[in-house]
């Protein structure tokens, strides 16, 4: 009886592992989605601050010329058109568009490439381009942010206690090892030598802010690092 049970466990475990390996690309895509969203959630605030500042500048420099132009054209005076703009939904929509675009670009990094060859520094040097610089940096931030996002979601679900935080951290690290590293290695190893020097510049311009925000707000190291370097409570 014990032997049968052990065989069932071993076989089901093997089948589960096989299924997980078969769907590994889906896991890599999901990790990217989580990381990009954490960055885009911060981008939303930045865009809102930018739009508010732009509205203030428009008030200062454009409101008066606009009213003068209206008077010349014989139109009745009115509040400037940017006064009634719904800034918060506009900012969220802009962040959403960047998020979808960045997700598509990062997915393309490994979905459109053949199965990963081994990482090779010489091959990477030959592939050097704006995209080849920005893509690995952005993707690493996004994958770290995605893993942290997953571990926070898990910690939110677990009952509060001394084990919830280490368990969530462990899941985050396991996710990085099982899905993050293969996605990063697959992307970097499949970079092709550029045909033009500026190849990939537009995609790098989309990915750079996402990567920067993922590194700045999605990696839980800055607080402990600052505490370590400057002193104080971590």
């Amino acid at each position: 009886m014990g032997g049968v049970l052990r065989a069932v466990v071993v076989h089901s475990d093997r089948a589960a592992g096989g299924l997980a390996r078969g769907l590994a690309t889906a896991g890599q895509c999901a990790l990217v989605v989580l990381g990009v969203h954490l960055a885009a959630d911060n981008l939303d605030d930045r865009v809102l601050a930018l739009l508010t500042a732009a509205q203030g500048l428009a008030d200062q420099h454009l409101a008066e010329p606009l009213q003068t132009a209206r008077a010349w054209l014989g139109r009745p005076p009115g509040a400037p058109p940017w006064d009634a703009l719904p800034l918060a939904p506009l900012a969220a929509t802009a962040a959403l568009l960047v998020e979808l675009l960045a997700t598509a670009l990062l997915w393309g990094g490994f979905l459109l490439s053949p199965r990963a060859p081994a990482l090779d520094l010489r091959r990477y040097r030959a592939a050097l381009s704006p995209r080849a610089i920005v893509l690995p940096l952005c993707l690493s931030g996004v994958l770290l942010a995605g893993a942290w996002s997953l571990s926070m979601a898990l910690e939110d679900l677990l009952p509060a206690g001394p084990a919830s935080r280490p368990a969530a951290a462990l899941v985050g690290l396991a996710t990085l090892a099982r899905f993050g590293w293969p996605a990063w290695a697959r992307t970097v190893a499949c970079l092709e030598p550029p045909r033009r020097r500026a190849e990939g510049l537009p995609s790098a311009l989309v990915l750079a802010p996402v990567g920067l925000l993922a590194w700045l707000h999605g990696v839980p190291i800055w607080g402990p690092l600052a505490a370590l370097l400057l002193g104080g409570a971590p």
């Binding site: 093997r14 089948a15 997980a20 896991g27 895509c29 990009v36 969203h37 008030d59 509040a79 099982r178």
Partner: protein, 298 residues
Amino acid sequence: MRGWSELLLLAGLLVAAWTRTPVGAVASGAVALAQGRQAPDLLASFRTALPPALEQSLGVALAAPPTAADPLSPSPALHTAVRAHLGEEALAQAIPLGLDQDPEAALERLALGEQTRDRAIRRARAAGEAQPERLASHRRFLAAAEARQADRMVEQTLALATVLDLSWPVDPQARVTSPFGHRQHPTLHTRKLHEGVDIAVPVGTPVRAAAAGRVARATEDAVNGRYVSVDHGHGVRTAYCHGEALHVERGQPVDRGQHVMDSGNSGRSTGPHLHFGLRIGGRPVDPGPFRGRGLAGS
């Protein structure tokens, strides 16, 4: 059990991406549309602060006479706001949590509990956020439902308290010549919403900030003339229009009762007056009920 662990990890990733991101909303929206159901809101997973919806609580707060305990409390407007927005029981619970010392922290403890707040602060600290104890800094590290709960119980209550603390920018005895609401416009001759009140005051009358805040705009246009808009925080703004001279600049912090402008007759105006406007979460609200609350700074 490595295979099962990997499969569980994968399932967790897929569920988190499906339920917590716009890409997941796109996928679930496609499924919903195929099944003839309503697609989810793509912007719902962004934790943008909700604009406060306070009309009902504001009505309750303004209608209720202050209780005997209120005048003695260190912050009557705050207590009235908590009572009107969250109820008497919530007020009794919030006071021992430090409502009068740090209202934001006390209301957040009441809304989410100490553990959830501490967890979000710890995450904000780990991410290197400045002032991790402030809700604005650690809000992003709350689950979406918790962030919405914090908006409703903390931000909206504080917005209500800010509004209830507003005072009148000129002598409350000055006549209101045009109240808030729809009216026949005196110069455009069309029916329009009058988004404030017009107060008859002579040119040069000092106009005072209705509460402490930061100057959001101090500028001039053909409609409002020379005008000042003050951001009091928590989505509350006041505007003072048709001025003669501005005494503040954009970005400058102002105290309650600070002289921000001299009233005048600039912009689209038929005579010397002050237009006093109030907006909560971007929506115009009648400032009329605050007339009886005395001159700011007196």
